[in-house]
């Protein structure tokens, strides 16, 4: 059974401390749109996915230090990859957002290491597609995504900031400590608590 995830802007975590924006977009079932591309090369579905995800992929890449023009290019490539690989999307493994974030990540690594001919994007791709070890532990990937999102909203602003820097911007713990001018031990304990809360919220899915 598959529970579709409704992406709804009002439910989103305000990552910046800026004002919340109400996006005009209606509820969107990203899983269904990807599956519609897989089944019938649905161009309308592509447009909807692109409108929702490409600007977010671009923003995420920029937060990770990718220059704006390259981020734009990689965001386009990411959505083209969604078009091409739609048949490989497996909602029992990861929700649409997680799957798309992983595609963007692989393209970013590929772009950064192209002259060095790194095989790392292929390796990450292979791991992404590995069969789950125990079939009885399979659960809906969207369920994991929405619980992780909920766990993020429950963090204190201090905790959320270290989680963002460590996991979204990809800084080492040392660099997080420098950026926030706080002791390394504080970074580690905040992250430990945040990860424990996140994993706690996923416990019954294991």
């Amino acid at each position: 059974m598959m529970v579709a995830l409704a992406i709804h802007s009002e439910m989103s975590v305000p990552l910046s401390r800026g004002p919340r924006r109400r996006a005009g977009a209606a509820l969107m079932d990203a899983n269904a749109l990807i599956q519609s591309i897989a089944q019938s090369s649905d161009r309308q579905a592509f447009v909807k996915l692109f409108d929702h995800f490409a600007p977010r992929v671009k923003a995420l890449l920029m937060r990770q230090g990718t220059p704006a023009d390259l981020a734009e290019e990689l965001a386009q490539e990411t959505l083209l990859m969604v078009w091409r690989k739609a048949a490989l999307f497996d909602p029992t493994r990861a929700g649409a957002s997680t799957w798309i974030a992983a595609i963007a990540r692989n393209l970013r690594i590929d772009a950064a290491r192209r002259e060095k001919r790194s095989r790392l994007p292929d390796v990450l791709d292979i791991l992404q597609g590995e069969e789950p070890e125990q079939p009885d532990q399979v659960f809906d990937g969207s369920e994991r995504d929405s619980r992780v999102r909920a766990a993020l909203t429950s963090l204190s602003p201090d905790q959320l900031r270290v989680v963002q820097l460590a996991f979204m911007e990809g800084l080492s713990h040392q660099d997080v400590a420098k950026r926030l001018s706080i002791p390394l031990g504080t970074v580690k304990s905040r992250l430990r608590l945040a990860m424990a809360r996140m994993r706690g919220s996923l416990e019954d899915l294991r």
Partner: protein
């Protein structure tokens, strides 16, 4: 399988973000492939990226999706094929993108084969040791990351069995002893320099020299 001999969240985050040296990353990838618990931990970290993607303030795109959708390539009916484990790579699919050298005996029940990782600053190899082999004592100036593929070994810091990850750095000197019944096959990445002692050490040295 041990529950404790696994990469830290910091190492996994660096791996997931593509910030690790490719050789070290390949050893982590081998561990992720065969250790279901770490695979779940990595899936949690990937789900964080998904959550960030959902909640981030969008950046306007310079191109319109409708104009792009007209020029979309024809989708093939067949889903793209995933690579499978290359022959004689101990079943590891993550080795598929790499060229593997020939197994070479270095004597005393130890054989090595190189894994060619051109972009890497580390040296990567698979190591196969007969039951009961005592590997040479050694020290490093850099990191030595190992994933045990089958069998086990034991050293000063514990017993490491199939699926475990062993992260040693320059603070560690160790003398691994291979399981007396099962032997051991593992994949290793080394950064910096390693100084071996003893006879197998001298035989290993050419393989791991910078």
């Amino acid at each position: 399988m041990s529950m404790s001999h696994r990469p830290s969240d910091e190492t996994l985050a660096a791996f997931a973000a593509g910030r690790l040296d490719e050789g070290l990353a390949l050893v982590v990838a081998a561990h992720v492939e065969i250790n279901p618990q770490t695979r779940r931990d990595l899936a949690d970290i990937d789900a964080l990226s998904g959550a960030f993607l959902d909640s981030i303030e969008p950046e306007p795109m310079g191109i319109d999706a409708r104009s792009l959708s007209i020029a979309l390539p024809q989708r093939s009916a067949e889903p793209p094929q995933r690579p499978s484990a290359p022959p004689d790579a101990a079943g590891l699919a993550v080795l598929a993108p790499y060229t593997l050298g020939r197994w070479q005996s270095v004597g005393r029940g130890v054989a090595l084969r190189r894994v060619e990782v051109p972009s890497s600053d580390s040296r990567v190899f698979m190591l196969r040791a007969q039951p009961g082999t005592r590997l040479p004592a050694h020290r490093h100036t850099g990191a030595e990351w190992t994933t045990i593929i089958s069998g086990a070994y034991q050293h000063e810091y514990g017993r490491y069995a199939a699926g475990d990850f062993d992260e040693a750095d320059d603070r560690h000197a160790h003398t691994p002893v291979v399981d007396p019944y099962e032997g051991c096959t593992c994949i290793v990445a080394l950064t910096g320099n390693v100084r071996f002692e003893g006879m197998i050490g001298r035989l290993l040295q050419p393989f791991v020299r910078l």
